[in-house]
């Protein structure tokens, strides 16, 4: 069963066409009420709701995690500076660190990956950033993503690939996503796991 760990909208027909059976509708919510409103709008057993948190300091990060962990099933932290990434992986309430890589670096180092592995925080790589960068930026971002995957793989940090789709044009099929994960240096079985069993286990753990 394939799971899309980040999609900002829900279309049951497109979900069926792309081969995903479960989807995490996750956005950058400004308040909990926005999330509650979305929950009322979408009622489907294959949809799980999540919140992606952006923070510039430790106080803001922990405040937002506490705020959203009450109503969101999945909590992820948007990768920012290396300091924020380190703080995010230390918190056990966080399920994943989302695209920490930038055109300059991988955003995580071996110590971050080790802590993340101990706390069960996964590395989430979104296709959206790769699709919407061009030329040199795209090449550098791909290079950073490869490095992030290498580090995470070596130190036992779970890796998840997601579409991060904002519109239907950003969606890709689950099988194509597996081949994309392989292009970033994963074996076929490991690539499949990043889109199926790993996100599924995180969702079932979060729902307990």
């Amino acid at each position: 069963m394939f799971v899309d760990f980040h999609c900002e909208f829900f279309d049951p027909d497109l979900l069926k066409e792309t081969g995903f059976e479960k989807i995490v509708v996750k956005r950058h919510f400004s308040s909990v009420s926005e999330l509650e409103k979305l929950k009322k709008e979408i009622k489907d057993k294959n949809v799980v709701f999540g919140a992606e948190i952006t923070a510039s300091n430790q106080g803001e990060l922990s405040r937002k995690i506490t705020e959203f962990s009450k109503s969101a099933d999945i909590i992820t932290v948007h990768g920012e500076t290396p300091e924020i990434n380190r703080l995010a992986v230390r918190d056990k309430r966080v399920h994943a660190l989302t695209h920490p890589q930038s055109i300059k670096n991988a955003g995580i180092d071996h110590s971050t990956a080790r802590v993340a592995c101990d706390n069960g925080v996964a590395l989430e790589i979104q296709l959206f950033q790769l699709l919407h960068s061009h030329g040199m930026q795209k090449s550098r971002l791909m290079h950073s993503t490869m490095n992030a995957v290498r580090i995470a793989d070596k130190y036992g940090m779970h890796i998840i690939f997601s579409t991060g789709a904002k519109t239907k044009w950003d969606l890709r099929s689950a099988q194509d996503m597996v081949y994309l994960a392989m292009a970033f240096g994963l074996e076929k079985d490991a690539a499949k796991r990043t889109l199926s069993s790993l996100p599924e286990s995180i969702i079932s753990e979060a729902k307990k």
């Binding site: 296709l127 790769l130 699709l131 044009w169 890709r172 099929s173 194509d176 996503m177």
Partner: protein, 122 residues
Amino acid sequence: MKNKLKALPATIRQKKRYLALKTESEKELNCADLSKLLWQEMILLTGHFGTAESGFWIIETFGSKNTSFAIIACEVQKYEKVRAALTLITYLGNSRVRPKVLGVSGTLKKLRTKYLKNTVHY
């Protein structure tokens, strides 16, 4: 005397894989343009060396209105890279596109009967 080269010896010849690609586009795409634009995108994504190594070749393009299909040939060892590169295509010309690989096969006949049977063309 025949003025034709003989086929590569079997020991040198690389095995091929054929991919059936479906592209949904925002605007209508001309099939002749599709081939040109796919070539441009592949060279942009994998470079001249990557495209050459993969043995990328567009055998056929067809379709109507906003849905187009392409049959792509590439070498068996590189088909995973080609498939990943095709996933990263976002624009063809001025139109936003959503590519989807319908399937991969070792023969053209199987590809056409298995993955492209329901298209208008076949």
